[in-house]
């Protein structure tokens, strides 16, 4: 019995060597610790109220609106501009110059002069300029097919086809949401002390949450203008099933590498939550039932998840098979006794693929908000000392760190072409991050520092002839080219999930793995790659609208209603 008790406390966080591989990071799923859900829980808990003081559009949807979110302490306002965009200018790329709608999240309530100023700048996006009163800048394009489908149905007095809606999932997709000081907006430091901004990306998530409401209202407005007396109101359940899309390219991938401490805190919080649940000795029947319900709904979600991309089609086939297998196992498993979650997870690790394992890891947290939700407070980066290199550290100690944290990279022959076939660079065109072929394009001179494994291996080699007892300060004076890697190694020594432990420049790299990882922490679902480096997703699908937040019994909205509930 004593042995069993000890074992029940003994599951630690999963090893970074296991978690931080690209294929696993590229299989992550949203969870209770996703930034969208952290936000909706807070909005409900604190009784945020919402208002729409301005909504002025013509029959084509050209005009502007203001949506206000009132927290207990302050107001944030989304200012939305609607435009008439010719089809030949509709592009989700960063290099686009016009969009269907453009937005900014304003700190407070804008007055007429603010609106006039922003009207001159927000529609231009990167070519415009904002101030510290603005917290984000973003834009969105219509899903043309679904937009037209919904407008024509509502105008004709009928509801849109739920299947057509499920196929796309959203009426508009954002193509960039800029925060943290971009284009002159307020730095994160300006708002980081506010409780509602403590978790990462809460401003960006709020902007998207309000954007979804704007899109619902705008499509209704355009349908009403078109249909006149014949037009009907969009059914609330259908409206709720729609999220906001997001179309994302490579710009997001370097973020994980460029913010190692922040990335560590995201992954560490989720791993801590998983370990906490695996260490539970028993589960109550209510907890087991809640889990089973959400597993059912995960299966529905996987069925609704569409992609035309071969990689994702294969992953989806495997995920659906695995979830069915998991459901069959769960149906006959005792989920209540003898460390049930650890037993279930250990079984999954041997029986299921990574996608289903990560889906299960997120699902297991669901009944345990009281145990894991507080970890959201640890997901920001407040460590202002992490940037400083410890120059007093001895060479021998750094060598040992490199062997521990970058062992995988020290085993790679980086001179082989396929190991370093790619290079990340920034294009002169709107500073768009791109990935190129090192040996086929003239890009190596412009390479960004996004290959930590290769660079750590080079550092390790350079240290070979150094005196192990010497301080790093001396080495760094002679080798400033290694400062970048020394800093990273010292960060990963304190923050084990800071580094992707995989090759980020190899010929077989799939940047969509990095995109999915980041987007899963946002709370995105239904990843739909358009290529190996471009992905569309859905945000806030099935989430309550502002006026529905208070009726939310729990925050399981990210799982679609089960087949039972729909029938």
């Amino acid at each position: 019995m004593k042995l069993q008790t000890e074992t029940s406390q003994g599951v630690s966080k999963r090893a970074p060597e296991k978690v931080m591989r690209l294929s696993r990071l590229g299989s992550f799923h949203q969870s209770r610790l996703s930034f969208m859900r952290i936000l909706t829980r807070r909005m409900t808990r604190e009784n945020w109220t919402f208002s729409r003081p301005v909504f002025a559009f013509d029959e084509k949807g050209v005009g502007h609106a203001v949506y206000c979110a009132h927290t207990p302490d302050r107001t944030y306002s989304l200012i939305a501009f609607g435009h008439d965009l010719p089809a030949d200018q509709r592009s989700d790329r960063v290099i686009a110059e016009r969009w269907d709608s453009t937005f900014t999240l304003f700190d407070g309530v804008p007055d007429a002069s603010d609106i006039a100023r922003l009207e001159q700048n927000i529609p231009l996006q990167e070519a415009g300029r904002v101030t510290e009163k603005e917290l984000s800048v973003s834009r969105a394009n219509r899903s043309v097919r679904l937009w037209d489908h919904v407008v024509s149905h509502l105008a004709a007095g009928t509801q849109p086809d739920p299947e057509a809606i499920a196929k796309v999932g959203y009426l508009m997709r954002t193509t960039a949401v800029y925060g943290s000081g971009k284009l002159g907006a307020a730095d994160r430091e300006m708002i980081a002390d506010r409780p509602e901004c403590a978790a990462p990306f809460q401003i960006e998530m709020l902007s998207v949450f309000l954007t979804r409401t704007y899109v619902r209202d705008l499509v209704q407005h355009v349908a009403d203008q078109k249909g006149g007396d014949k037009a009907v109101k969009l059914n609330a359940d259908i409206a709720r099933s729609m999220g906001i899309g997001n179309s994302t390219g490579l710009g997001m991938a370097p973020f994980l590498v460029n913010h190692p401490m922040l990335f560590n805190n995201w992954v560490a919080a989720r791993e801590e939550a998983i370990a906490t649940v695996r260490n539970l000795a028993i589960a109550t029947s209510e907890e087991a039932a809640a889990f089973r319900d959400l597993l059912d709904r995960s299966i529905v979600s996987a069925d609704l998840w569409h992609s035309a991309h071969p990689i994702q089609i294969d992953k989806l086939v495997q995920l659906r098979v695995d979830l069915t297998k998991l459901a069959a196992h769960v149906a006959q498993a005792d989920l209540q006794a003898a460390q049930p979650w650890d037993r279930l997870f250990s079984w999954a690790e041997s029986a299921l693929g990574e996608d289903a394992q990560e889906c299960l890891a997120s699902l297991m947290l669901e009944p345990y908000g009281a145990l894991v939700d507080h970890l959201a407070d640890q997901m920001s980066d407040r460590d202002r000392h992490a940037f400083r290199i410890d120059g007093a550290m001895r060479v021998a100690e750094l060598r040992a760190i490199l062997e521990r944290a970058y062992g995988w990279a020290l085993d790679i022959d980086w001179a082989e072409k396929e190991q370093c076939a790619r290079a990340w660079y920034v294009s002169a065109e709107k500073l768009e991050p791109r990935l190129g072929e090192r040996f086929e394009e003239p890009i190596a001179a412009y390479e960004q520092p996004l290959a930590p494994g290769r660079d750590a291996a080079a550092l390790y080699a350079a240290l070979q002839d150094e005196d192990g007892a010497a301080p790093l300060a001396t080495f760094l004076l002679a080798h400033p080219e290694h400062r970048h890697s020394v800093r990273r190694a010292q960060v990963v020594n304190r923050a084990p999930y800071a580094e992707i432990r995989d090759n980020t420049i190899g010929s077989d790299l799939l940047p969509i793995d990095m995109l999915r990882c980041k987007l899963s922490f946002f709370g995105a679902t239904h990843f739909d790659p358009r290529s190996d480096r471009w992905v569309r997703i859905c945000m806030f699908g099935n989430a309550p609208y502002p006026e529905e937040l208070q009726a939310m019994k729990d925050d399981s909205w990210s799982y679609p209603p089960s087949a039972r509930d729909l029938s």
């Binding site: 089809a87 290099i95 510290e132 730095d187 400083r388 294009s427 890009i443 412009y446 400062r483 020394v486």
Partner: protein, 216 residues
């Protein structure tokens, strides 16, 4: 123009890299520039100056030749970024009542952020002195004495960094925005542009990986 500190840091990092600094040095130069800008000091302008002065010069030419005695470059002026980075690396020396001294330093104000980080590390204020300038910092706030307006000088024969006592009078605190004149921004931009790959049709099509129509 008013800029966010993130914008200033990002621009400074690209400029420093464009001027040939290794990535790790560029990161620190950018943080230093941001730190100075948050105190409304001339970080961006002095960065542009030092990058111009050392454009195309190897790091070893302008870095301390050795880390004992008075630090000096092998010949010519010492780069404040190279000297500053080494100062921060050697911060522990300051705790033993030892000072760090550098000779022939260009744009000495750029050393201040590194001294500030050293102060945070040793958890004690440090004092930076050159000519008649005396600046104390606890890592966040600063106390400046500059009777002859030498704070932005382009060169000093001697710079001394040592630990000091905590000051009683209130410090000048950092702000959350920075002001950078458009000509300074343009000078940094000229360096930054060197880091951008010229767009080609192939990279436009393949490099970002979109390629498909978005009219669906």
């Amino acid at each position: 123009m008013s800029h966010s500190l993130n914008e200033i840091e990002a621009q400074a990092k690209r400029a420093a890299r464009g001027a040939g600094l290794p990535w790790g040095m560029a990161e620190e130069a950018a943080r230093a520039t941001r730190w100075l800008a948050s105190h409304d000091l001339a970080g961006p302008a002095l960065l542009a100056d030092v990058l111009t002065q050392n454009d195309g010069v190897a790091h070893a030419q302008v870095a301390p030749a050795a880390l004992d005695g008075v630090w000096r470059a092998p010949s010519g002026p010492l780069c404040p970024l190279a000297g500053g980075a080494a100062l921060n690396d050697c911060a522990d020396r300051l705790t033993a009542n030892k000072s760090i001294e550098m000779a022939d330093v260009s744009f000495p104000l750029l050393v201040l952020p590194f001294a500030a980080w050293a102060a945070l590390h040793i958890k004690q204020p440090v004092r930076l002195t050159w000519q008649d300038v005396e600046i104390d910092t606890d890592g966040v706030g600063i106390w400046v004495r500059d009777p002859h307006s030498e704070i932005n000088t382009d060169k000093t024969a001697m710079l001394i960094c040592q630990k000091t006592e905590t000051r009683q009078e209130p410090a000048s605190r950092p702000g959350l925005r920075g002001t950078v004149a458009s000509d300074i921004w343009a000078r940094l931009d000229n360096f930054a542009k060197r880091t951008y790959a010229p767009a080609t049709d192939a990279s436009r099509l393949l490099g970002a990986g979109a390629g498909t129509s978005d009219n669906d």
